[in-house]
Symmetry: C2
Amino acid sequence: MEAYIKPRVLRGFRDSLPEEETAKGRLIAILENTFRLFGFVPIDTPVLEYSEILLGKSGGETEKQVYRFLDHGKRDVAMRYDLTVPFARFMASHHSRLYLPFKRYHIAKVWRGENTQRGRYREFIQCDFDIVGTDSTSADFEILLVMVKSIQALGIDDFRIHFSHRGTFNRLLKRLGLEEKSFEILRTVDRLKKLGLRKLKSQLEPIAGDREVDCIVNFIEPEESSEKTIEKLIGQAGGEDTDTLRLREILKLIERLDLEKYFSLDPSITRGLDYYTGLVYETYLTDQPGLGSICSGGRYNNLASLYTKEKIPGVGSSIGLDRLLTAMLEIGKLEGSENRRALLVLCLDEKYLDYYHEIACALRDEGVAVEVYPEKKKLARQFQYAEKKKFPFALICGEDEREKGTVILKDLRTRESYADLKPQDIAHQVDKLLATSQTES
Amino acid sequence: MEAYIKPRVLRGFRDSLPEEETAKGRLIAILENTFRLFGFVPIDTPVLEYSEILLGKSGGETEKQVYRFLDHGKRDVAMRYDLTVPFARFMASHHSRLYLPFKRYHIAKVWRGENTQRGRYREFIQCDFDIVGTDSTSADFEILLVMVKSIQALGIDDFRIHFSHRGTFNRLLKRLGLEEKSFEILRTVDRLKKLGLRKLKSQLEPIAGDREVDCIVNFIEPEESSEKTIEKLIGQAGGEDTDTLRLREILKLIERLDLEKYFSLDPSITRGLDYYTGLVYETYLTDQPGLGSICSGGRYNNLASLYTKEKIPGVGSSIGLDRLLTAMLEIGKLEGSENRRALLVLCLDEKYLDYYHEIACALRDEGVAVEVYPEKKKLARQFQYAEKKKFPFALICGEDEREKGTVILKDLRTRESYADLKPQDIAHQVDKLLATSQTES
């Protein structure tokens, strides 16, 4: 007996089967279309980079998760673990050739050797879009707007973007004498949704002290309206400043464009990453809060500071493509349709293959997706294939039809047959049947 | 002075800037559309796999080039170096869940630590499409047809697919008593285009012997017509057999579908890979033969034999996406158009940002790509930005226009301005101007 290699995949990795890959393609196409309508352009960067480039900025936790090794030339290399660090390096490399403000999107895989027991994958897709080269209210607002329009374009209207400003929170912490612990505190507060308020308090106390924790907890609680929340923030952070002014301007734009129902000013939003300097935000689907944030980001004003003295301010957001895909597959939004212009030519006799392929070519020229079943197998098997691939129509052509130069079109949804059809009339008949079923359904 | 990390990329790797990435996206979209019209579906597989999976089948040369390392769990892993081996593993894993014949395409990056001095990249995109689960003339022909239609869909009509059959060549070698050296000989003949006939002969002589080399050289020379070539092959291979019958059937289909100008029966085509068992082919652009083959492949009837006892015959082809992209950028086929429905809203005063964004949103709903310049910078700078990003139109709206509730549309191609336009009439005016310039050009 021959010894076979077991066809397994690494833990935390997975194949993408056609249904999923097709759905993913549809999702990405919708997002790309939205990005392009806003003037964003695509870029790509290498999967492998020098480890010092990718890890220069990160702490121990990241480093442990990164796939890192020595290549053939003994270079210390690593696989990218996000799209932000490569983008920073990209901007440092190319800023003089690019027009600023530069608006890019990047949809690509990243790798992290995370603990798979938490249901995490070690290979996943990120989808980032950023505007760099400007620290302006308009850019902040535009990123929020792209988020709204992207999610709407996916057919989802019931979601909410929670946002706040790092600067305001930092002012509070400074006032409380906690400036040096600010990142530790922001990171703890970032876990509020996971911990709940009580656990959060008990975790904050050893860091911040009892009285200060009460101030923090009071600060992060949203009031009944954005107006009241911002008044509170101004009060507790020590007065109006550029951060609260920016928040006000954004609130005004949200109101003017009639988008209030999609936004909450929520001071508990801090984001766990240290590079954010301004606005920060997360997005939750109302029906599936357990999914976590499906789109998050913020403003960072020192993007490329590790690689260049050039100051490159930016604001961006990242869509959790895998989460969104899961959500959309669950609600059936990306399913393949049985009402598409698609057709299987059955193989009744291999001597008619030329005729089958000729008809198929002509139909494809009219935009109909056509397959020719490649062998003379039992018809039951060929029909089964059509069903598996959700073909709405089949073409049947045996000796009689070949002699007359006609075909039989079979509507596999209704099981009706249409005989004596001329090849050049098939596309029209298909469209007629599709239109009828559209009207009926 | 602060020490910056030099923003460099690894040798053999490169960033993809927006122009290139956009062109690549267009190219891929065209190919995917063709694949889908033929009923091919997309899949994806992990970038990292167990090394034994990826390397089980390959010889020393491949092994040296593969990025291979121990991961966090001390597993011996490697980055995929092609899409064929992962596909074999994929079929072994999933064949029972998939409908056969299964037609998939896979467009994804692969990595090889090749010598960069030969102008090779270490990270590049492969684009494979295959039909598995059937050893039929129809499937062989359909792959050839997809190649023709894909290249035509890219706007290229001047190309030729050279094809032959491994089985016929193997029969000749068996007749010459060279059966055991057949792979070595096929691999050497595969380099004919690089070596030229004289060098090929001198390289073949020590392997095959003088008299045999003459037979081989005579065999691989195409005759003046496919008819004559196939007669010669039958004669020299020792009579008609399944391989020559398959070639005849394919020639017949090519003729019936009027595709002769795209094909040459060329017995010098052998392909350098050992898994091919039947038809093999390569494609050359008539105007750019130096580019090498832009689309190659063949039939392999033991695809997944390393991983399963299941027999899975297949036929497939691989498009050299990077080569094709180079060719198409050179002939300007994928350039961004200055005649697209796109528009930059200039920022004359930041207090009108709500108005600017409102207009932009409404226009995007009509499918016009719109950017709002985010800050009040000098107009010259804003126009420069419009020019860099090839915007055909700009919208100007200052105090007067805001009061009247109108805008000025500027055609940046002709420098004409259209004042007193109502926001809801902009899209129509844009389309009118685009239609006019279409007619004129």
